[in-house]
């Protein structure tokens, strides 16, 4: 009996405060099959090095800013895909929905003459209603999301053609709509936004740390806090810096400032990161993706969570479609078609969100879209044919999914 009591005491002291270094955490995560975004960050660095060696125009302010604007639409759609993948579901209609929503906006703005904000709102609401319809169908009629959204993909593509009518292409002329993706913030405003983000991050980290310490909970070592603060401040400020220098190579009219499309994408990522990580709704999404049965027994309304996530997925697809239309000043019959759907799903998965549900982050939409965008952008710079681009992107996707499957198998091995 004495022996047992002793054992308990040592066990109790083991669970007490223990500080872990970043390195042990990374190694531990690798061992546990929980690698997150590490491979994609390494991949991005590798891609940047290769393209920079091949063409010194790759890492220039002009090209990097263009790259960010190019990925803003697909990145936004990919945020919605991340949410749906977190549930362990799939949405194959996001491409078609993005095109259809953009078409609704274009018709209402150009043909009907509604003010820009109403046209935009109508496009977004259309996306939400489509998500409600598909989500309801999937959860209440128990039809696999794969099939419902595949049917939806065809249907909404048809709806896009129908709405556009015989015109085929609608050129956008409303100032607000066109300005969504193409406006540049004044340089001072860009720095202000960047500064606010950094200050907010630092204040938030410090406050969380002091709340934990105040409650007697284990805290991360201050070196880790400093490291993360420096890293994130550097990324934010360097990004703003790159976009704040004159990027016009001809030097006649200066072009500088953070493009609004980039701000919209980053704001959406941060908003939904907050929703998934900090709110009860987000926790429920992760729980349903991890084990729907466990979530149900914990009293979570699984059907409601699923439907809401499908609504969010389609809504973000609509926002992405509107951004794409804005960037190209036009909506046409191929809007949302082609590789939009595949790139959005590939971005989410390459960025580190698991196809199997319950693991991922909205930041993976940005990282994955950056990978796909840099490959496309770099190959364009090198004048490769799009045949090569497709094959390379396919290979990267295959690699990412293989890694996801491998780490999942590793987790299951450890679990048993």
């Amino acid at each position: 009996m004495d022996d047992r009591t002793q054992k308990r005491q040592t066990a109790a002291s083991q669970t007490a405060t223990r500080e872990e270094s970043i390195w042990t955490r990374v190694v531990g995560r690798l061992g546990h099959g929980d690698i997150g975004s590490l491979p994609v960050l390494l991949g991005l660095v590798l891609i940047a090095i290769v393209f920079q060696i091949a063409n010194p125009n790759f890492l220039t302010p002009l090209n990097l800013t263009n790259l960010m604007v190019q990925i803003s639409a697909v990145g936004t759609i990919a945020v919605g895909v991340v949410l749906i993948l977190l549930l362990g579901e799939i949405d194959l209609s996001v491409g078609a929905v993005s095109g259809f929503a953009a078409a609704i906006m274009a018709v209402l703005s150009v043909k009907v003459g509604l003010p820009g904000y109403l046209a935009i709102l109508a496009g977004v609401v259309a996306g939400a209603l489509i998500g409600l319809f598909q989500g309801w169908w999937i959860t209440k009629l128990h039809v696999p999301s794969f099939v419902v959204t595949l049917a939806g993909s065809l249907g909404w593509q048809g709806a896009l053609l129908w709405v556009l009518g015989s015109t085929g292409t609608i050129n956008l002329n409303d100032g607000l709509i066109v300005g969504l993706a193409n406006t540049r913030l004044p340089v001072w405003a860009g720095w202000m936004v960047g500064g606010v983000v950094v200050v907010f991050f630092v204040v938030n980290s410090v406050m969380q740390r002091s709340r934990r310490a105040h409650s007697g909970l284990p805290i991360q070592p201050s070196t880790s806090l400093i490291f993360r603060t420096v890293l994130i401040s550097a990324v934010v400020l360097i990004t703003v810096g790159i976009m704040s220098v004159n990027r016009n190579p001809r030097q006649d009219i200066p072009i500088m400032g953070v493009p609004t499309g980039v701000i919209i994408l980053l704001a959406i990522i941060m908003l939904f990161n907050f929703v998934t990580v900090r709110t009860q709704f987000g926790r429920s999404v992760f729980a349903v993706g991890g084990s729907a049965e466990a979530a149900r027994r914990a009293g979570i309304s699984v059907d409601k969570i699923r439907i809401v996530v499908f609504v969010l997925g389609s809504t973000l697809a609509a926002v992405g479609g509107i951004l794409a239309g804005s960037r190209l000043f036009a909506v046409n019959q191929s809007s949302g078609g082609g590789d939009v759907l595949l790139n959005a799903i590939a971005a989410a998965v390459i960025g580190g969100t698991s196809l199997f549900g319950g693991r991922g982050s909205t930041w993976s939409a940005l990282l994955g879209a950056l990978v796909i965008g840099s490959i496309a952008n770099g190959m364009d710079l090198l004048a490769f044919a799009s045949s090569v681009r497709f094959m390379v992107t396919g290979a990267v996707l295959l690699l990412a999914v293989t890694l996801d499957s491998y780490t999942r198998a590793r987790r299951e091995q450890l679990g048993s």
Binding site: H32, S215, G216, T279, Q280, F286, A298, L414
Partner: protein
Amino acid sequence: MNTTQRAPILELHGISKRFGAVEALSSVDFEVYPSEVIGLVGDNGAGKSTLVKVISGTYRPDAGEYVFEGKRVAITRPNDAANLGIQTVYQDLALCDNLDVVANLYLGRERKRTLLPGIVKIIDEVEMERMAQSFVRELHVRIPSLRSRIATLSGGQRQSVAVARAVMWNSKVVLLDEPTAALGVEQTQQVKELIHRLREKGLGVVVISHNLADVFDVADRIIVLRLGRRVATFDTHVTNHEQVVSAITGAEFGDGATTDTSAG
């Protein structure tokens, strides 16, 4: 255990349940006292699972009384039992592998704090972790960290988390379905110690198990079901394995409780 002087926390009287032509339970009595561990044993099909599901509110019995803390109550849904403080930990544990220990303990019942009054409420991770920490310490549950994901824990640790979750909401009776079935020796020991501590805390614990050695280790009394009837009750301190096995299988062995090991 002088259980005779105290009132049972939960009593069932004359519970019957049939599924078509099969009588799964016929007029079964059951009782568990505070600070008592009951081992519920029986062969496959003896009615253990049915009885557990009646207690947890999943099944409604065809006949019989359900008495909780001396008062007759109507249990029609699992929530009714849960609201009384009766919790069941099934073999599949119902944990989310991808979430950490704190998130699982509070799943569906997250503590929240207001970020923007009336608009945004966020999960109060610090408060949840602080409360989880004191609770886990009280039960001496051994886990690497409260922020470990369930996927990284051993089977015994997962079982402990599932049990901790079941008892952390002022539970009075906890039912454990095969808690040591898939566990190694050391992990089994860990779960047994946890069961002892639940008893020290005054809970009534019901352990359903095939493993008689484990049942003898943790239980104060053993209730044997055979073919839907309660056929025997043993005090573990004055009983041996053979007697229980005989009761489970229905083999004759004389007058029961006092029979020695040479019999049969």
